[in-house]
Symmetry: C2
Subunit: 356 residues, 2 copies
């Protein structure tokens, strides 16, 4: 494996170096970047450097950072700008940070077309952009195009297969824990359902391009962790048909209500939660008196329903701001920043009703 | 007035030329641009050219169009990117059109700060951008910074004081007419109220920067025109406190319901309409059985309420696409393109209930 690359792209990654040196990826990064503020022995530093040399590891981002920027331009390359509209606050956050540094932003949308992406990335490189923010409109793992690794890159709302590229993502797992904690604190102990898994082999509708959202697995993992710590288990998970939208949320919850009355519903996003409200209303059940509901995203939908929906908010603007700052400052140390998702308190959680 | 400028900016406009020549602004534009596909007499052309010479009129955009583009880059300069999130589909539309032309887009957000705007515009000009799309997140009149008139400019979702700069805006007036027509077709003849005017001297909350939205005046004008043609008049207009949001819509309609029951509510946007739903529900009134409701924007909120809200949709993506195409093709002929706002049919309009 000495000459191989874990990610299969032919590029030797920091993970390969760390493995050969027998240290953590973070320690390898710190060693190669000469960080003196961390306790890493001289011996470890030497071992990491030997491993890097043996593998021919070339840290793509250490040589040229924006501190020595040449063109004063950064490119934000994303799959979709308009699909999930409120994710655009990421662009806003990035623009704010870049304006402070008098840097200009190119905005590029690929719509998931890899050929178009390659062409536009080459065009940007020909213009000597100082760095790339490579963004996804929902949190997922991406194959970072090799061509942009010629310049500093920070991933926004996505991560690379081996976490070797600096990234900024929402802390989805902690948000899952917070959603469960909100219900536990209100006294819920059983009949807590999760709404919004996919059926086997399905990963959303056409807009999803077969991409699997990390939000689903990480939110669900956080929920299970927090419940389990309290000696509670999910009653079950309810799949939705295709997209996480209002109609599918309503249909999914209606199927549950035909046979069972939940104590609380944790919905994978706000749109599914709005659908849940509608199904509950159709069944003559009240939120939160009969059933508590919590969502994720913190979208404008939370204010559109009565009672207002409690939700864990995607920190889009902060994500964009942190990614841009990371790029401006020094993206050479691979790390994944997880930005907290604040709880936006609505009026959709109450003490559980008695068993019916 | 021969040397004066109507807009007071010191720049001689096409309107000034047209007035001196005694022709319409369109005719003046066509004459100066040598259009042969329109019936303009040689005598008129000569008169317009004499007037232009006398006034020292210099058409800012005729000399260099993107057909002879040098850098393959365009800049979209807007006041706010993230505030009204779903307006970002304008950026998406522009990106699609530019990608077809292999042009790259700089995205710039000024947050309404004129000093920051001037700095970034100069920076962009130094980079030889081929043209500017100058955008507002809500439809309004803007003072176009003189510096960007050195390159071709198309206004997106805004218009210049004298309409001398090419612009693409939603057809707000026609949308107002369509909203009124939907109610008239359902049989409404009286007790039709408009919700969402501002009280005297107030033009929205802090986010509005004192900008007066054209959407309000034009939507209302269209509503009055269509009603008047059917021999019907608005029962009245209901002011809202500051912003066009759910809470203010709810409060405004609650004040009306304390003294009167409407037959239909035309709400200035979807958020105000959602607030109207809530106030009606609080009063024990049903939509649409007791009161019909129609909104504007076609936002995701329309699907979040029961019954779904009928709304006139802002064609954001189309606005962006048309603006970019206009810039790419030939922005030299000043014209204002009004893009239709399609009616998104919900279930919020029905025949009027009897007088209570």
């Amino acid at each position: 494996m000495a000459s191989g690359s874990e990610s299969g792209t032919g590029r030797v990654t920091l993970t390969d170096v760390a493995r050969l040196a027998g240290v953590s990826r973070s320690a390898a990064s710190f060693a190669l970047n000469g960080r003196t503020d961390l306790r890493i022995s001289e011996e470890t530093v030497a071992r990491v450097r030997d491993a890097a040399e043996e593998l021919g590891y070339s840290p793509n981002t250490t040589a040229k950072t924006l501190r020595t920027g040449r063109s004063g331009t950064v490119a934000l390359v994303s799959d979709f700008i308009g699909t999930t509209s409120f994710a655009n606050s990421m662009v806003r956050g990035a623009l704010q940070a870049l304006r402070d540094a008098d840097a200009l932003l190119y905005t590029v949308e690929t719509e998931g077309d890899r050929a178009a992406e390659a062409r536009v990335l080459q065009n940007l490189l020909n213009r000597d952009v100082d760095g790339f923010i490579y963004a996804s409109m929902f949190t997922r793992r991406v194959e970072v195009p090799a061509v942009i690794e010629r310049a500093p890159v920070v991933l926004l709302n996505c991560v690379s297969p081996d976490d070797s590229v600096p990234a900024v993502v929402p802390d989805e797992r902690a948000a899952g824990e917070a959603a469960a904690a909100a219900l536990l604190n209100a006294g819920h102990r059983d009949r807590i359902w999760f709404v919004g898994t996919f059926q086997a082999g399905v990963t959303g509708g056409a807009a999803w391009h077969g991409w699997s959202p990390l939000a689903l697995t990480e939110r669900l993992a956080g929920i299970r962790t927090a419940l389990h710590a309290a000696g509670v288990e999910l009653a079950g998970t309810l799949p939705i048909e295709r997209d996480w939208d209002i109609a599918n949320g309503r249909a999914s919850v209606a199927r549950l209500l035909a046979s069972s009355t939940p104590s609380a519903l944790i919905c994978v996003n706000d749109a599914v939660a709005v659908g849940a409200y509608q199904a509950l209303q159709d069944a003559g059940l009240h939120v939160p008196g009969d059933v508590s509901v919590v969502g994720f995203d913190g979208s404008p939908l939370t204010e559109a329903v009565v009672p207002t929906l409690t939700s864990l908010a995607l920190p889009h603007e902060e994500l964009g701001r942190v990614a841009a700052r990371m790029l401006l400052e020094d993206p050479s140390a691979p790390r994944t920043e997880r930005i907290p998702m604040p709880l936006v308190a609505g009026a959709s959680i109450a003490a559980p009703a008695g068993i019916r």
